[in-house]
């Protein structure tokens, strides 16, 4: 299991997501967004779908459909 802390922007709400793999596609699925609606950043760099994070990692999730 890998617990990933996700700060969702622009709402600024932080959610802890429990995943089997820590992989980006699973994090997005667990957050409940379509993949196309969101961009995940780790240490300021965008994450690709098949990248995986370690337990305890903190990421920013930008919701593309909000604002503009």
């Amino acid at each position: 299991m890998a617990r990933i802390r996700v700060r969702i922007l622009p709402s600024n709400i932080t959610r802890e997501v429990e995943t089997e793999t820590g992989c980006v596609s699973e994090i997005i699925r667990r957050l409940g967004f379509p993949r196309e609606s969101i961009v995940l950043l780790y240490k300021g760099e965008p994450l690709l779908d098949d990248m995986c994070l370690e337990d305890g990692a903190v990421v920013d999730a930008y919701v593309a459909t909000s604002g503009g």
Partner: protein, 339 residues
């Protein structure tokens, strides 16, 4: 750590070079580094601009910039292409008077224009007409978002007319265009649907055509471009934005479809563009004239802006706005003449 948990994998390489990828474009089966992603995005915009005939020396494009991701991405790409092709881009930002949101937006826009070295015109609504958008809406007894849209359309068009611009560029991305089109289908409003192409026509002296450089740019790509290039953007949402507008639901649905069928959104807007002639042939003919107060485009004797401001302030404020814009545009002309 369970056996299922893999360590953070190394970043995949760009499909075009050895650099690490920052973007994955599923419908094109590409993984791109920052440089190639930028090139990919700029080519998309370039193709749209070529189709509508903007890539020519001497053309003038007024770019509406709000401080959000889409208009900032649009301005950054237009600025690059303008240097390559010799057309002129002038950013226009309207300070709407929506508390801290407007203050933050202005700050980001000024930074963006400085960084891109693009000429930007700032129009503070309260300073020009004495009211902010929320106040105008309250006095006119109209929804804030409706008045906001009206004010922005009016001012952008007026700036375009004064500058003799060829187009007013808007930051509408693929997802926006799909959402607006589906909404038009829901309302059976073919006249409205016929307007959602990459550009609309100019009516000389009264209405400047709209240009949508991000017609083939997905919302996610627009955000990614702003993030990977570290453009100064406002992340916050406007406090007046409805909690769950219909457009958001449509976007969510289309994004779920895109997840299963990569490229379906692109196919939608490309087919829409091909069918525009057909939709235009079905559209109801609209007769336009000039507003008797301000002289700009109007469906009746008085344009919507003059009507709303007359209700709110006791007199139509179109002529006042136009004279202020004339003054600002003259100062731009003076600056561009200076050595």
């Amino acid at each position: 750590m369970t056996p299922m948990l893999r360590r953070a994998v190394a970043r995949a390489k760009c499909s075009k070079c050895e650099r690490p990828a920052v973007a994955e474009i599923r419908y094109a089966r590409l993984r791109l580094c920052r440089e190639h992603f930028n090139e990919f995005m700029e080519k998309k915009v370039e193709r749209v601009l070529r189709r509508v005939g903007v890539l020519q020396k001497g053309r003038i494009v007024v770019a509406a910039v709000s401080g959000g991701k889409d208009s900032s991405t649009m301005l950054a790409i237009l600025s690059k292409l303008s240097k390559k092709y010799g057309f002129r881009v002038i950013g226009v930002h309207i300070v709407l008077g929506i508390r801290e949101y407007s203050e933050k937006s202005l700050e980001k826009i000024q930074q963006l224009c400085r960084e891109l070295r693009v000429e930007c015109l700032v129009i503070d609504l309260e300073r020009v007409i004495g009211f902010t958008v929320p106040e105008l809406a309250r006095r006119a007894k109209r929804p804030t978002c409706s008045v906001c849209g009206l004010v922005k359309r009016y001012i952008l068009n007026a700036v375009g007319v004064e500058l003799g611009a060829d187009y007013v560029a808007l930051g509408h991305n693929t997802d926006d265009i799909i959402a607006y089109s589906i909404k038009s289908f829901i309302n059976h409003d073919i006249t409205q649907l016929a307007k959602f192409g990459p550009s609309t026509e100019t009516i000389k002296g009264v209405a400047i055509g709209r240009l949508r450089p991000l017609f083939e740019v997905y919302e996610r790509e627009s955000l990614l471009y702003a993030l990977v290039n570290k453009l100064p953007i406002v992340i916050d949402e406007c406090p007046f934005r409805p909690r769950s507008p219909m457009e958001d639901k449509i976007k969510e649905f289309m994004n779920s479809l895109e997840d299963d069928h990569p490229g379906i959104k692109l196919a939608f807007v490309r087919r829409l563009e091909k069918r525009l002639g057909f939709y235009k042939s079905l559209a109801e003919s609209q007769k336009y004239g000039r507003c008797k107060y301000c002289g700009l485009l109007s469906a009746g004797d008085v344009c919507s802006f003059c009507r709303v401001t007359e209700k709110a302030a006791g007199k139509p404020l179109g002529p006042l706005v136009r004279s202020e814009i004339r003054r600002l545009v003259a100062s731009i002309r003076e600056r561009s003449k200076a050595p």
